[in-house]
């Protein structure tokens, strides 16, 4: 799929955000770095990428937005911004009137001539009377190419292999072309930086007065995409874009962002070298697939229900007081469970579904099992044990009892206690941070300890 890597990066950051108890700097920086990398590799304009990073940072580190609100806002921000960056506001449906003419323009070798015959066939099959007109008088055999392709697609084609002035060719065929519903016009490849070529296309445009002007752009174009799109837009006020070579490995980010920036919708994408290889492009559907959710609300709902306001407050309170009991750990495990199990979380997020396949088959299951056992163990404890887990370490017979009562093993109980201790240490250091007392060594020690151990 187009931009698959980007989609995966974004989906995983959404999961990271919704599962995080604290949105700390490291987590946010990591998420930003992931998204940045994916966007840049997809050729998205680098300025836009850094703008997005700044916006994410601003919300993530805004003290006035708290807890769940912040998560929601972050998810919404990333969603909205990507939608803005990648899709144009205009509808991506080419609304042809009864009689229409379309001029195709673009860089050399972008695929104009090939695309024209594809589009011609596409509309001919939908009942239009289509004619192709070749005005590329510059490249050798461009006319022959159009002719041969028209023949393949069984379309009517008007070319003139001798005339060098495109305007004259048009005038010669003008009367004839009036008999057709849809006239598709091929032009010579040109680059937007060359003034004489732009002047030429302007004169052609003035003469023909087409209903639509479509820019043809290859998917693998890099950072020059923006400039090309902008220049063509300024010169001719293009109505939309067709992106070709979408069947390669290119991520089309350059072309897509260029379209969005110039507010030109993407009408079609070319997906191969054969005449049927053309598809319409639904921007809304595309963005949904990319971000991996039915809609924004569904995802926000998940984020919301994963941690309720009350729980969040409780955790914050115990954080402030420096208290943390097994009950809190239980709540955290619970909130993970309410997301619906690890594999469900993964399957909910398309793209990650594939990722989970790559994991050892029983890893997910094991993790889940462990959490279940933890919860059962906590339920088997007395109130005083829950509030004061330290006593368990002194009286090991209690551990045996809990293990028996909850159907788990003593080693699992010990692991739970270890997790609890880690959590507790972390919270203690956090609260002493809040008091302004900071023990740097401790913090570093914590960081090392937690690395890869505790994940919620």
């Amino acid at each position: 799929m187009v931009l698959e890597k980007l989609g995966n990066a974004i989906k995983s950051s959404f999961t990271k955000i919704s599962n995080a108890i604290f949105l700390d700097k490291k987590l946010v920086d990591g998420i930003i770095k992931d998204i940045q990398r994916a966007l840049i590799e997809a050729d998205v304009n680098v300025e836009l990428v850094f703008q997005l990073s700044q916006k994410i940072k601003k919300v993530a580190f805004d003290e006035n937005i708290k807890g769940i609100d912040k998560k929601e806002q972050l998810v919404k921000l990333i969603h909205d911004e990507l939608e803005k960056i990648l899709t144009s506001k205009k509808s991506s449906e080419l609304k042809l009137s009864k009689k229409s003419s379309i001029v195709f323009l673009g860089l050399y070798g972008a695929g104009k001539t090939t695309t024209i015959s594809k589009i011609g066939l596409y509309y001919a099959k939908r009942g239009r009377k289509v004619a192709l007109l070749g005005l590329d008088t510059q490249r050798p055999a461009a006319m022959e190419q159009l002719e041969q392709q028209a023949k393949k697609a069984n379309l009517v084609c008007f070319v003139d292999k001798k005339e060098k002035n495109p305007v004259k060719i048009y005038e010669n065929y003008k009367k004839e072309l009036e008999k057709y519903d849809l006239v598709l016009i091929d032009t010579a490849g040109r680059d937007s930086l060359k003034a004489d070529l732009i002047k030429e296309i302007k004169t052609i445009d003035k003469k023909i007065k087409p209903d639509f002007r479509i820019l043809v752009m290859p998917a693998d174009i890099g950072q020059s995409a923006k400039k090309q799109a902008k220049d063509f837009q300024e010169a001719l006020d293009i109505d939309g874009v067709i992106i070709t070579r979408m069947d390669g490995t290119a991520k089309a980010g350059g072309a897509l962002t260029a379209c969005a920036e110039t507010n030109a919708p993407v009408f079609f994408i070319g997906t191969g070298e054969h005449i049927h290889d053309i598809e319409t492009f639904d921007a809304g559907f595309f963005i949904q697939r990319l971000l991996g959710m039915g809609d924004l609300n569904a995802l926000l709902e998940k984020v919301r229900s994963a941690t309720t306001e009350k729980q969040q407050k409780r955790i914050e309170q115990s954080l402030a007081e420096g208290k943390f009991t097994l009950m809190d750990l239980y709540q955290q495990l619970e909130s993970m469970g309410s997301l619906g199990g690890m594999d469900k979380i993964m399957s909910m997020i398309p793209g990650l579904g594939n990722a989970s396949k790559k994991l050892p088959a029983n890893l997910m299951e094991k993790q889940e099992q462990k959490m279940k056992h933890f919860k059962a163990a906590i339920s088997s404890m007395t109130q005083s044990e829950i509030e004061n887990p330290e006593i368990l370490e002194k009286q090991t017979s209690r551990i045996a009892r809990i293990a028996k009562g909850s159907g788990s093993t003593t080693s699992e109980i010990r692991e739970l206690l270890k997790q609890y201790k880690l959590m507790n240490d972390l919270l203690k250091s956090q609260s002493s941070l809040a008091d302004g007392k900071v023990d740097q060594k401790m913090l570093q020690k914590m960081a090392r300890k937690f690395k890869g151990k505790v994940r919620f």
Partner: protein
């Protein structure tokens, strides 16, 4: 090409060197003084900023402290470049490079090489311009003299066969015409093989070029085996004592396995002396993927980048050179037959202002 990169690189080098000077000034002061100063700063900031930010700041300064102590112990009078500082400095260069179409993979490689050279070094003694130049020089590969190479091979083997490969629309046919023109000018006889038997009018396109350049063209029908066209052209060349055979092939996306296999077959049958990959200067991150795949399939000997007149950025040259470790031979700089520029490494580096 490379014009805009040059200015940006220069300003970056300037900025970094000046920022180094700035941080160097307080380094000789006693650490105590520095700490009190910092505390004062913190207090004033504390009044303005929210608690979280203050916390962060404290953590930051605390985290920096032990490092500084260590550093001061070892080298009291010199400022060494730390990992973090380098990352910070490089970020700007990273943006410059990406803006100029260098692919992310290659940007990371530049970062690594530069980091290896600079991290831990005393910034006073480092010539940043030189280091950056070295890294870029390492990536770009000096091409051999194209015509000379052909002429020297011709003494032992005739004809000299050149195969052109690349994705759709990269400019193979146009470039072949340009190369034929160049060879003719150097008094070498040329014949063309219309190996693109797939795309509509590809044969006519090459035919028209052949007519204009007055060189023979070997062709078959559309849909016929591309490899056999190359084979026929070589037989023709042997019979008629033609020096160089240029074989055109159909454009193909690098991820289409069957087409890449066909490419491999064409190369196997025609046994070219030189295999050239045609890339576009305007291609972004995908350039590395394209070049890599073609290199893996037919083991290219060189690269020609077309449409270099369209793109003023030029980063693609770095990307494809890096992933293939093959030289760039020419740049296509226009639609005319003479619009083929020899890729001159020194000139490019000089053009960058390094």
């Amino acid at each position: 090409m490379f014009g805009s990169l040059k200015e940006k690189l220069k300003s970056w080098v300037k900025k970094v060197t000046s920022s180094e000077e700035l941080v160097e000034i307080p380094k000789k002061e006693k650490s105590q003084k520095k700490r009190t100063l910092k505390k004062k700063k913190q207090i004033s900031k504390q009044e303005k900023k929210s608690t979280e930010e203050v916390l962060k700041e404290i953590i930051k300064t605390e985290a920096e402290k032990p490092q500084k102590d260590v550093k001061q112990k070892f080298s009291f009078f010199s400022k060494k470049l730390t990992d973090e500082k380098f990352d910070e400095l490089f970020e700007e260069l990273e943006i410059i490079l990406i803006q100029n179409n260098v692919s992310y993979e290659v940007v990371e490689k530049i970062k690594m090489s530069l980091g290896e050279k600079l991290i831990g070094k005393n910034l006073n003694g480092v010539d940043l311009e030189k280091e950056l130049k070295n890294v870029i020089e390492e990536i770009l590969i000096e091409p051999k003299d194209f015509v000379k190479e052909i002429k020297s091979t011709l003494e032992v083997k005739k004809p000299y066969v050149i195969l052109f490969a690349g994705i759709n629309g990269s400019g193979k046919t146009t470039t072949i015409a340009k190369v034929a023109n160049l060879l003719k000018k150097n008094k070498l006889s040329v014949c063309l093989a219309a190996g693109d038997t797939f795309r509509a009018a590809a044969i006519q396109q090459l035919e028209q070029h052949a007519e204009k350049l007055k060189v023979p063209l070997i062709k078959k029908d559309y849909g016929s085996d591309s490899a056999s066209v190359g084979f026929d052209a070589i037989s023709y060349a042997k019979k008629h004592h033609v020096d160089v055979v240029l074989i055109d092939t159909a454009g193909r996306m690098q991820n289409k396995d069957s087409l890449m296999k066909e490419m491999e077959k064409i190369a196997r049958v025609s046994k070219p002396d030189m295999r050239i990959f045609l890339g576009e200067s305007i291609t972004g991150n995908d350039a590395t993927e394209q070049a890599k795949k073609f290199n893996d399939t037919i083991n290219i000997d060189g690269i020609i980048l077309s449409k270099a007149d369209v793109d003023e950025k030029g980063g693609t040259a770095l990307s494809v050179s890096y992933v293939t470790k093959k030289p760039i031979l020419f740049l296509g700089v226009g639609q005319g037959y003479d619009d083929l520029e020899v890729f001159d490494k020194k000139k490019i580096i000089k053009g960058l202002g390094l």
